[in-house]
Symmetry: C2
Subunit: 355 residues, 2 copies
């Protein structure tokens, strides 16, 4: 059915259990109580399975930030005006948005992609143009996009990440910018998980109680009118998704197909991860959840996928800010495997493992 | 009563509320929804109050790792033999312990201090010798140390940090190594918080259920025999503490007196923080909790002091591993204040703040 996506979907293999076992054995032999680095040990083992190597290095890190507009903003679901999507692309390009600060902090590049911002942009060497259309249609009145547009968005994301991988990228974080996109992410979460819109809808950039009730009502209307098929990820994406969400799903698929770890950001990046996992369940083996957003649907998303977040900082900014901080933790976890010594190597007495 | 500590205690001033207000205003004016960086915004505001500057830089970071032995190990409270304290000092010095890996990852130095390891060490330029004695006495049979030794340990910690500050240190993490020291930390936590030993005692390096019950019984015996005075921090430290715990309390006091942020590690570093806060409540303004340990008493400690941890990675290693990762987050939070631009500076439309 999604025949143009078949080659990439067929290329995605599960993480390598043999290498994961080697990584676990090494973690257990290092001079520290077994398991004492908690979630970071698990992350290092999973990354070993992704990379087929227990001592990976990450020399080429990027946060891919995809921007697009959402027709549903016409319903008054956001605290900020629609033009902020476009306006925020410039700080992203000049390096003064929050994600740029965190990316520099961890030694990563920021790759900014226009997936469908209203009005588009003048050609700019720092901005990748993959615009599918000038914003989605209003999902409260019909499908957000056509099925073809949904596939175009996913394919654009695959092209972006494959070009980055060709340049040497070895770990990627997913980020986004799009006024109205928590509404799309909530709708995707509700459609796929079967939870009510009220359960998965939060305050986004900061709406009040009255606006929150209205946002839930808009999402219910969108789900009612569109009736997305939860077994068909492209149907869900086209009916209640967004171009940046489709693009990030493509980034995830392309990374997984090339055995590149993907550190996902918050709620909107989580919606993209759900679309990708629905297209290929093996994708999960390549995903690391960076943080738990304050958006109430995010926990439901991560449980649906089966991921545990590393950070819980009450963040709700998006852009890939959590992903950047998460990449640094992933890198730290792998450095433990690479740089620590074992009980045998150091002559430190191990715990009596017979007891 | 602790007259020799009075000069440093008198030097500790609260964080500067005026500078904190300036930092909060700047956070609120940056191109992101207000509050959207969650705990990191709060940390940046608190650090501004500590440093009297909203755009600090951290160019000289260190983790101070203090090692000492504990007489209570004779009661069989640990999964590892006592000589591991001594053995683990060597990986710390050669840079292959877990904290060294994380310190390199975040660009920090590791300062290793012998506060009282059995047998001591040959002179080594990489190791600071502040040994109070070759291990504490067995707290299950009497006081762990004399009152004089407790004050000596705190003063040694003050000397260590003041020497580091003289060399330019601008942020410090606290770490430790000492077989048996979760027993001391649990006893301190119980003595000060009034909670039962069972509530605040965990598995340390990895003991089983039977050993855990025994550990609780040993702590109860130590509290019964010693009856530490919860209103006298030096009494608590001398009766059920440890030399590295006293030393870290001194590091904290010395840092606070010099307006240096202290990122505290896990359970044992938390016990040192409790001693320091008991000696001077203003110290709290200079403390940042890096992570929540799996040791059950750690949450009780942090609540007692009034701190929220940044990371929750199910770690229980000590050495300052959590502190190192926490320092990186503190630095990221301050870079936001320094490197992001405001709505006015970028021309991005702000949310209608009247609504």
């Amino acid at each position: 059915m999604n025949s143009s996506l078949s080659p990439i979907l067929n290329k995605i293999e599960p993480g390598d259990k043999g290498v994961m076992e080697l990584a676990r054995k090494r973690q257990d032999s290092l001079t520290k109580p077994r398991g004492s680095l908690g979630k970071l040990e698990d992350v290092s083992v999973r990354v070993a399975g992704m990379r087929r190597c227990i001592t990976s290095t990450f020399d080429n890190k990027a946060i891919v930030v995809m921007a697009a507009d959402h027709g549903v903003v016409a319903e008054g679901v956001s605290a900020y005006p629609q033009e902020v999507t476009r306006q925020m692309v410039y700080p992203l390009l000049t390096g003064c948005a929050a994600v740029n600060v965190f990316a520099r902090h961890i030694g990563a590049r920021v790759v900014v992609v226009d997936m469908g911002v209203i009005g588009g942009f003048e050609p700019n060497p720092l901005l990748e143009c993959k615009s599918v259309a000038f914003g989605t249609a209003n999902m409260a009145q019909g499908a957000a996009m056509t099925r073809e547009q949904a596939i175009d968005a996913v394919e654009a994301g695959i092209a972006v990440i494959e070009s980055q991988i060709a340049e040497g990228l070895d770990i990627v974080g997913t980020g986004e910018m799009g006024i109205g996109n928590t509404t799309a992410a909530s709708a995707i979460c509700a459609a796929v998980s079967g939870r009510s819109a009220a359960d998965v809808t939060g305050r986004g950039t900061g709406i009040d109680n009255k606006q929150l009730l209205h946002k839930v009502e808009v999402i219910n209307r969108a789900l009612e009118i569109n009736r997305p098929d939860s077994n068909d990820a492209i149907d869900v994406l086209s009916k209640v998704g967004g171009f940046e969400i489709g693009g990030l799903a493509g980034v995830i698929l392309g990374a997984a197909a090339n055995r590149i770890p993907v550190v996902i950001d918050g709620f909107i990046a989580g919606a993209a991860a759900i679309i990708a996992v629905k297209l290929s369940p093996q994708v999960k083996d390549y995903l690391i959840a960076s943080h738990l957003s304050v958006e109430c649907g995010h926990r439901i998303m991560l449980e649906y996928i089966g991921l545990q977040p590393l950070l819980s900082l009450d963040m709700r900014l998006g852009e890939g800010t959590g992903a950047a901080l998460g990449i640094s933790l992933v890198e730290a976890s792998i450095k433990i495997l690479r740089e620590m010594k074992t009980f045998d190597e150091t002559g430190v007495s191990d715990k009596d493992t017979e007891s």
